[in-house]
């Protein structure tokens, strides 16, 4: 009996060892961040295989929480959502900087991300792709929309769309002259900001055609002309600009909201080496440029913008002058518990008539 148990354990151990050696990289990421041609090049160079699952911030955290951090070997949540998720659920493991080629990263972004994703002295995130949320506007039909609160203007009634998520609350707060990021540490002050934003967004509701959920949905609404002004990601605006020169991304007067998507290692990932190989591979300048060309957003790779298509660069420069870049509001790390306050506010806005 004992004998068979030992042999079972040996067989099981041998099997797991074999799986670990096969090095399949299970990547949990956003659409466009792992283009097929990059995967093919990576598989040819390293011999690993890559399985991609596309998702968004909330679903990434929810998926990893459901399994206590297993099922994936590398994930890409935004940098402001890492420290709190680690504090609450413990779903990541620290980055081993000795395995990362640090020279590939733009130093200021690397250190800023490290600072924002530090929990109990350990760094959990490396920067990858960055971009902003702001306004995507059909300038021929709604040229007067230059700030978040302009979406509530009577001239665009019934032709507006935004997400019912936290960036909307924060964008509107800035546009109303409030400073939500400064109030992050003070739940009472933050709640009073949320109350003001709630009143504004409830009043704005008749202006909204529908709340969008996915990137393709908002592009569809703008392309068909059913929506003429929206709060959305910069890359969506630039993609639409290629089809219709009237539609483009506008950096709002109150400031675009800047996000950085990162690399994190799930707590119980099985292929850390493959994950580090992937990180070092995609941060090479020419690969980073390929990702920028498909995802539409720039990366934290040194010289990563050199190989980017001239069209995309022109659109980026059209939306952002130096003042607009300086005015970008970068998300600080979200303290644990803040999302519960925002959630209740969003629920009430959704239910209001």
């Amino acid at each position: 009996m004992k004998f068979s148990l030992v042999s079972t354990v040996t067989v099981a151990a041998a099997l797991t060892a074999q799986i670990a050696q096969a090095d399949t990289l299970r990547l949990l990421t956003w659409g466009g961040y792992a283009p097929q041609e990059v995967i093919d090049m990576f598989e040819a160079e390293t011999g690993h295989t890559v399985e991609v699952t596309t998702s968004n911030n909330e679903e990434m955290i929810a998926k990893l929480r459901a399994t206590n951090g297993s099922g994936f070997d590398l994930a890409q949540p935004s940098q402001d959502r890492i420290a709190s998720a680690q504090e609450e659920f413990g779903i990541y493991k620290p980055i081993d900087m000795s395995k990362v080629t640090a020279e590939l990263f733009i130093p200021s972004m690397l250190s800023a991300t490290a600072g924002n994703t530090t929990y109990e002295g350990e760094v959990y995130g490396l920067p990858h792709v960055w971009g902003t949320s702001g306004l995507v506007v059909n300038t021929a039909l709604a040229g007067n929309v230059t700030d978040y609160t302009d979406l509530c203007d009577a001239s665009v009634a019934g032709q507006v769309s935004y997400r019912l998520k936290r960036p909307t609350l924060i964008g509107f707060a800035y546009s109303m002259g409030l400073d939500p990021f400064a109030a992050y540490g003070d739940p009472d002050a933050y709640q009073s900001i949320l109350n003001e934003v709630e009143a504004e967004l409830t009043e704005c509701k008749p202006n909204v055609r529908t709340y969008w959920d996915g990137g393709d949905e908002i592009k569809n609404l703008l392309r068909s002309g059913e929506v003429v002004a929206s709060m959305a990601w910069d890359t969506g605006g630039w993609q639409l600009n290629a089809d219709n020169p009237d539609i483009t991304f506008v950096a709002p007067e109150a400031g675009a909201l800047g996000w950085i998507d990162t690399f994190v290692l799930p707590a119980r990932g099985r292929a850390d080496d493959a994950a580090y190989d992937w990180i070092n591979f995609v941060m090479q300048p020419e690969i980073a440029a390929m990702i920028t060309n498909t995802a539409g957003n720039f990366t934290a790779a040194v010289d990563g913008d050199a190989g980017v298509s001239a069209d995309l660069k022109a659109r980026y420069q059209g939306s952002f002058d130096q003042a607009a870049i300086d005015n970008i509001k970068w998300y600080p790390p979200v303290p644990a518990g803040l999302e519960a306050l925002e959630g209740a506010t969003l629920d009430r806005i959704n239910a209001a008539n």
């Binding site: 504090e87 509701k205 909204v208 055609r209 529908t210 068909s224 059913e226 009430r348 239910a351 008539n353």
Partner: protein, 288 residues
Amino acid sequence: MASDTSRLGFYLLLAPILLWLVILIILPHIGLFIVSISEKIGPREYETGFDNYAAFFGEPLYWRTFARTAIMSILATVLTLILGFPIAYYIAKLTRGRTKTTLFLMCMIPFWVSELVRTFGWMILLRETGVISNALQYLGLVDGPVEMLYNDAAIMMGLVYTSILFMVVPLVTTLDSLDDSLIEAGYDLGGTSTSIMREIVIPHAMPGIVSGCIVVFMLSLGNYLTPILLGGKDSLWFTGMIYTQFITRFNWELGSAFGFLLLALSSLVVFAGLKLSRQSLIETMGRT
């Protein structure tokens, strides 16, 4: 010896359904219940208590959405019955042979594609730049584009469309089993169409009506796609709320409590429905 073998056979046959029930239904619900009675007091700190259930009753938003979901589901069930009964009666009683099979098949064909595709089909038809809006403008019936999506009527239509098959099938089965001579006898005895419908057809079809209603009600109550996609900004639906709690709010505790409340609500409504129609669950399920 013989009885031992037959008993073994009985248990072997029972095993799959028992495994199904225990592993896929009972165990997850126990887990869900444990999550629903833990209150979060800080990061990685939990206490046992019923605060999540209290939160549901304390916040009008939650129970209003709950009531709205239940009422709209009941309405959808009634509408499905009103639409489905004539269809089923026609298929079961007024057609024969090939026509019958063809009609039955035509009811089923839309269900060969997934619910998501069917819902997107409705969105293409109803949106402002969609088929119906363009057709109306082309015919000169309306001046400008009309938006028919993103309201409660769109949700209701989507729900009825999604679930009508589940009403028609049990109704056809029960109506098929009604002997035509009973209806003829009714006419011979001087009954009118209305009285025959009331005294003979509907009482006979009652088990089918009830089981169809139970299935349609459950499907509507638990539907997620249709209300979210067709309802737009006003699409409050309780399943959507559960999804939000689990995924965007990271509040599994409240989400689990909501899940249990939904289970309780659906059981309660089905129980009330059975009592009102004076049917028993065993009879209903046994006869169809």
